[in-house]
């Protein structure tokens, strides 16, 4: 259950049995062709995979450097890559005979994805969400309810994603008999980071096939944003063995790495344990986990998936960061030149890739994971760009 020195199961003894059950079921499922068939069939017939690979001709021309391709995870059902994993895990839950689903959510995207698959599989669904996030993301709360899920406010700690995750784990310990915990990113105790990666690696597999079909070669660089890191690990995984392909993960630099307001675990974090896994995280000198900051709710997590920590430590993936402002600028540029409004998360990958593209030749290529659509962020953008009151954001 490790990626190099990272990962593991740093959990109370009470969680060991449910984790072992998940692991056993997962190992068995992954060997069962019928499981993979059902997973792929749902991805195709329900979520709309394969997602498109879009050549961004205008932005390529504007930047004047490397050719830029976008892997369009924004075109998935519910608008982001999150559904790939949610489908995989709920199939596993069904296989394990579980009838109820638990999930944590920050801004609500994974909560919506989970509520979606729970509805599709007729399972009860409880989504833990920080009390503050519930207020800020009232529309996503409404969506989850519309999909039949119950949204449970996490009132402990900072009342955000970190604490929603704590609450979900606490609830799971007590109700593991009939509940499956559907984690949304490549984080948490083993086997979750591996499982989420395995359910997300289709992104990179598809993109690689599509890219080589169009370009007849591999991309020079693959870029993805990293919060917990599920879209990035999904995008990178099939490219790890391709040694000539540069892999670049982009963290949220927030207001800048020289401030306290960022979510750059690789640049500014240290090794530690969060939510049951050993990885890089943001903490103070006493080992208390600190609250990260990013304009992007999806990157605003104090830890990072342990496999990323490993890939960084062996030098296979480069981790960079991009500030709020740089990401918003990239978002606007993509909207105006390509007619695609990306999620602010994805805009972090774009910003770094655009910068990189300028320094590359026209014969070179960059493949970017456009992890989600920006519709969910329009309130944030209105407030930011038109200077409106934050208090309207809840609607």
């Amino acid at each position: 259950g490790r990626f190099g020195e990272f990962g593991g199961k740093y959990v109370p003894e009470t969680l060991m049995k449910p984790l072992e059950e998940v692991e056993a079921a997962l190992n068995q499922a992954m060997k069962d062709p019928a499981f993979k068939d059902e997973y792929l069939s749902l991805l195709v017939n329900y979520s709309g995979r394969p997602t498109a690979l879009t050549y961004a001709d205008n932005i390529t021309e504007t930047l004047g450097g490397a050719k830029i391709y976008l892997k369009r995870e924004d075109l998935n059902h519910t608008g982001a890559h999150k559904i790939n994993n949610a489908i995989g895990q709920i199939l596993l839950a069904k296989r394990m005979g579980k009838t109820k689903i638990i999930a944590e959510t920050g801004a609500g995207q994974h909560g919506v994805a989970t509520a979606t698959v729970a509805a599709k599989f007729g399972m009860e669904c409880k989504v833990f969400m920080g009390e503050e996030d519930i207020e800020r993301q009232a529309l996503n709360v409404f969506r989850m309810k519309l999909l039949g899920a119950e949204v449970i406010p996490a009132t402990s700690g900072t009342k955000t994603l970190k604490d929603a995750t704590n609450e979900a784990i606490r609830y799971w310990v007590q109700h593991c008999e009939d509940h499956f915990y559907l984690i949304g990113s490549a984080i948490g105790p083993h086997p979750y980071p591996k499982m989420v990666r395995d359910f997300q690696k289709i992104i990179g597999e598809e993109a690689k096939e599509q890219f080589t079909a169009v370009e007849g070669k591999l991309p020079n660089a693959v870029v993805a944003c990293v919060g917990g890191g599920s879209n990035a690990i999904g995008m990178f995984y099939d490219f790890i063995k391709e040694e000539n392909v540069r892999l670049i993960g982009v963290e949220a630099g927030g207001k800048g790495l020289n401030t306290a307001l960022h979510a750059a675990k690789m640049a500014k974090g240290t090794k530690g344990v969060i939510h049951g896994t050993l990885t890089y995280l943001l903490q103070d000198e006493n080992g208390q986990i600190t609250e990260p900051y990013s304009i992007s709710a999806g990157l605003d997590y104090p830890g990072i998936g342990p496999e990323h920590s490993h890939l960084s430590s062996i030098g296979r993936v480069e981790y960079e960061s991009v500030t709020d402002d740089e990401s918003i600028e990239a978002l606007q540029l993509l909207a105006k030149t390509e007619g695609i409004i990306p999620a602010i998360e994805s805009a972090h990958a774009l910003a770094k890739a655009f910068e990189l593209a300028k320094s590359m030749t026209k014969e070179e290529t960059i493949l970017i994971c456009l992890s989600g659509r920006g519709d969910k962020d329009v309130h944030t953008l209105v407030n930011l760009l038109e200077g409106k009151e934050e208090e309207h954001e809840y609607v």
Partner: protein, 258 residues
């Protein structure tokens, strides 16, 4: 054995020392001293709140360890077990952690989020430093009980029921069987904890275990008395109330030991 749990620095360092003395006075056999943590996964709301109070007063893992020296000076003689999540230990560094523990006369350590499989190195260091490494078993541990018990030192901590720490009104029906299974596997004393708050529960559990951990019930009382305990002039009154409360719960244990 009566094994009370309190959080270091809740509501204040000085108060913690005095509460420890009160607990010793009320017959505590071992003190479990909790290091407050930002993300206490195994704990319920009562201990989370205690962590919050302690952290806002600036408590940290090294301060908590050093506080035991103060306790010793003030007269705490019973063994002290440090209860801490793994991350603060990691930040201190495993070697420094054990050195600091020794230096401050701590007898054992319990790390709730470090299961058997992840604890190899810690157990080695604990042995080298002659610090007991307290292992936990849960009702779901089943076949894991054997291996955990085999390597356990100090006492073996049985989690009475699934879930987090906190006050529960009832005990699981099969708690007796579980505890007897553990006792059969263990060569060291067996203690039980999580959710115990009434003398009736104590009455039942003492038949099946060598020790009973009472945490949230006491911490809850401390929380209620926060202001009284923070004020030097009223602190003694608060301590008296804690002592009374503890006496009422633990009388069955003491009766048994008498």
């Amino acid at each position: 054995m009566f094994i009370p749990f309190i959080t270091a620095g809740d509501p204040h360092e000085d108060a913690t020392v005095e509460i420890a003395l009160s607990l010793q006075k009320q017959g505590a056999s071992i003190l479990e001293l909790g290091v407050p943590y930002s993300d206490p996964l195994a704990d319920g709301p009562i201990i989370q709140e205690a962590s919050k109070r302690a952290l806002s007063g600036g408590m940290s893992i090294s301060k908590a360890i050093k506080l035991v020296s103060v306790m010793r000076k003030k007269g705490v003689k019973i063994p002290v077990i440090l209860f801490t999540y793994f991350n603060p230990v990691l930040q201190l560094g495993l070697e420094s952690f054990f050195a600091l523990m020794r230096e401050n006369e701590i007898d054992g350590v319990l790390i709730p989020d470090l299961p058997y499989e992840e604890s190899g190195r810690i157990r080695e260091l604990a042995a080298e430093n002659e610090v007991a490494y307290i292992s936990m078993v849960a009702p779901t541990s089943k076949e894991r009980i054997q291996k955990i018990a085999a390597d356990a030192t100090g006492f073996l901590y049985c989690v009475s029921s699934l879930g987090v720490t906190g006050v529960r009104s009832t005990l699981p029906v099969d708690i007796g069987t579980f505890l007897e299974d553990v006792k059969a596997a263990a060569s060291i004393p067996v203690a039980v904890g999580f959710g115990i708050s009434t003398s009736e529960q104590v009455e039942v559990l003492k038949e099946h275990s060598d020790g009973i951990v009472i945490g949230s019930a006491i911490v809850n009382k401390i929380g209620q008395l926060e202001q009284v305990l923070l004020n030097k002039d009223t602190r003694r009154d608060g301590l008296n109330q804690i002592e009374e409360y503890v006496a009422s719960i633990v009388s069955p244990i003491q009766k048994c030991e008498v």
